[in-house]
């Protein structure tokens, strides 16, 4: 399920907005909630609203597994919206139904976090980890907890330990890179992103983020490498990625002419080509911004 599927399902539900007594059907609600779960879309307001509707009016029509997935999904969404009073019965119901489950107790920990009780949450997570030292979900919850408290070095420490056992967890490496970026540790962030890049799947956004990170470090060598990654992202995205195009411009702005490349080389022509490509896209998709873009890129047009 993609985010397009989620949006399609959401649009179906929007038709009911404002209608006094009409209510979405069970299937329409289930479709939206299921698509959101699978595409892992984070939209707490809609999920809390529509999910609560489903649980209140259509509980009997839900299959057993789906019912409890919804409890978790809606509980989390309610917590994200700060609706703790409404979340609590859902959390309690899950704990009652699945007493020994780590997943259920993780939900309890999230409730503690949402209620502003990080110490209790931390104690619970650490208890769970001592029961299951190689659990792959609880360390991530601890990372969230530490980041919420602004304890970046603790968050990093938990992630580094986790990644020693789960070195193929792409998401965890990206989370680590984000922690390093937030801590201003750009070189370490670059190393973390390199781990993701060595896994082979060349997602344009990761290539670009790596380029952005190197360009943030600065220096001719980093800038030239960043340029190569923006170029690769551009290639992978069929020449369309706006972030990559702007990245090439940004690098060209920073590189002294002597480092830009030999006269007439591809490297030297990249920023002009990027500027032209941006102008073409803006002409088509955002013509109101064209005067701004032309002024900002005047040097290369």
């Amino acid at each position: 399920m993609s985010s397009e599927d989620v949006e399609e399902a959401r649009q179906l539900l929007l038709r009911y907005a404002g209608a006094e007594r009409a209510m979405p059907t069970c299937d329409e609600l289930r479709q939206f909630l299921k698509a959101s779960r699978e595409a892992r879309i984070r939209n707490p307001e809609d999920i809390a609203n529509y999910g609560s509707l489903a649980l209140r009016h259509y509980k009997s029509q839900l299959a057993e597994e789906e019912l409890w997935l919804l409890h978790e999904q809606v509980g989390i969404a309610l917590m994200e919206c700060g609706a703790l009073q409404q979340a609590l019965p859902l959390v309690k119901a899950v704990l009652l139904k699945f007493p020994g489950s780590i997943r259920a107790r993780r939900l309890q920990g999230m409730y503690y976090q949402a209620a502003g009780k990080p110490a209790q949450a931390q104690q619970l997570y650490e208890e769970l980890l001592s029961e299951q030292p190689h659990n792959d979900v609880i360390p991530k919850q601890l990372v969230v907890l530490h980041r919420e408290a602004g304890a970046l070095s603790e968050a990093i420490s938990v992630l580094v330990t986790y990644l020693q056992h789960y070195s193929n967890d792409r998401e965890a490496w990206e989370e680590l890179a984000d922690c390093y970026l937030e801590a201003g540790m750009y070189r370490q962030a670059a190393f973390a992103l390199e781990e993701v890049l060595t896994m082979g799947v060349l997602a344009p956004l990761t290539l670009i983020k790596y380029g952005d990170t190197l360009a943030s470090i600065g220096g001719a060598a980093q800038l030239r490498t960043a340029r190569a990654y923006y170029a690769k992202a551009l290639q992978v995205s069929g020449g369309r990625s706006v972030r990559a195009l702007y990245g090439l411009i940004a690098v060209a702005n920073q590189l002294p002419d002597k480092d830009a490349g030999a006269a007439g080389s591809a490297a030297q022509e990249l920023p002009s080509a990027a500027a032209e490509a941006l102008v073409a896209q803006y002409s088509r998709d955002a013509p109101d911004k064209l005067p701004l873009v032309k002024q900002a890129l005047a040097r290369y047009l």
Binding site: E148, D212, Q281, K289, P291, L292
Partner: protein, 225 residues
């Protein structure tokens, strides 16, 4: 606190304040930031528009450079000044804006010495939203004099500067913090925060208008000539 004698009144229109609030409301789990455009006089800095920039890419220099270049072009074309920076930390308990935010504010202050920073205080914002307080959730930060002066919070009522609400282009009568809150809660209930676009979104889809023309009714301030 030695601050070079500057404008002591820092006013934003309701539209500018609303833009900031809606940007923060759209991305509650992210640190969000943007810039302020308006006019500087000897007595007052008046921001007539807030331009939402980032909720993801604030820490990445190329993204910041790209955004600032475009916003500077816009300011020039509209005969406005880039005169401020706004920031809202994702962490509820954050006491200070992230250093990267201060760096962006510095870039703006280097070109515009009167530039100021406005931060959303999360606990105050929670109280403000729940109608538990009439205290505005915004804090003013000014740069200390001297090279690499740091940004310091200016307490409410200080002679160094105060935040106010400027009369808007829409001619809204009797602007007050209560009025702003009512307008914000109304806009949020209507889902306007979902319609707001920032520069990060623009980079992913250039049809997303980070200038948010027409979003807030009296969009005349935000439309390109």
């Amino acid at each position: 606190m030695s601050i070079v004698v500057k404008a002591s009144t820092y006013d934003l229109t309701e539209e500018a304040y609303l833009t900031i609030l809606l940007h923060a409301a759209k991305y509650p789990s992210c640190t969000v930031c943007g810039v302020l455009l308006g006019k500087v006089s000897s007595k007052a800095c008046t921001a007539t528009a807030a331009v939402p920039l980032f909720h993801l890419s604030m820490l990445l220099a190329p993204c910041v450079e790209t955004a600032l270049a475009q916003v500077e072009a816009y300011a020039q074309q509209q005969s406005l000044q880039l005169l401020g920076y706004y920031h809202c930390e994702s962490r509820f308990d954050a006491r200070e804006p992230h250093p990267a935010g201060k760096r962006i504010a510095e870039r703006i202050a280097d070109r515009q010495p009167e530039a100021f920073m406005i931060c959303l205080d999360n606990p105050k914002l929670a109280a403000f939203s729940r109608e538990g307080s009439n205290e505005p959730p915004f804090e003013l930060l000014l740069r200390e004099a001297g090279p690499k002066g740091s940004w310091k919070k200016v307490p409410a009522g200080s002679a160094a500067g105060s935040l106010g609400i400027a009369a808007g282009g829409g001619g809204s009568s009797g602007s007050s913090w209560e009025g702003l809150r009512a307008r914000f809660l109304n806009a949020h209930a209507r889902g306007m925060h979902h319609e707001l676009a920032d520069f990060d979104e623009h980079l992913d889809d250039i049809s997303r208008d980070y200038l948010n023309a027409g979003l807030l009714g009296s969009g005349s301030q935000l439309l390109l000539k």
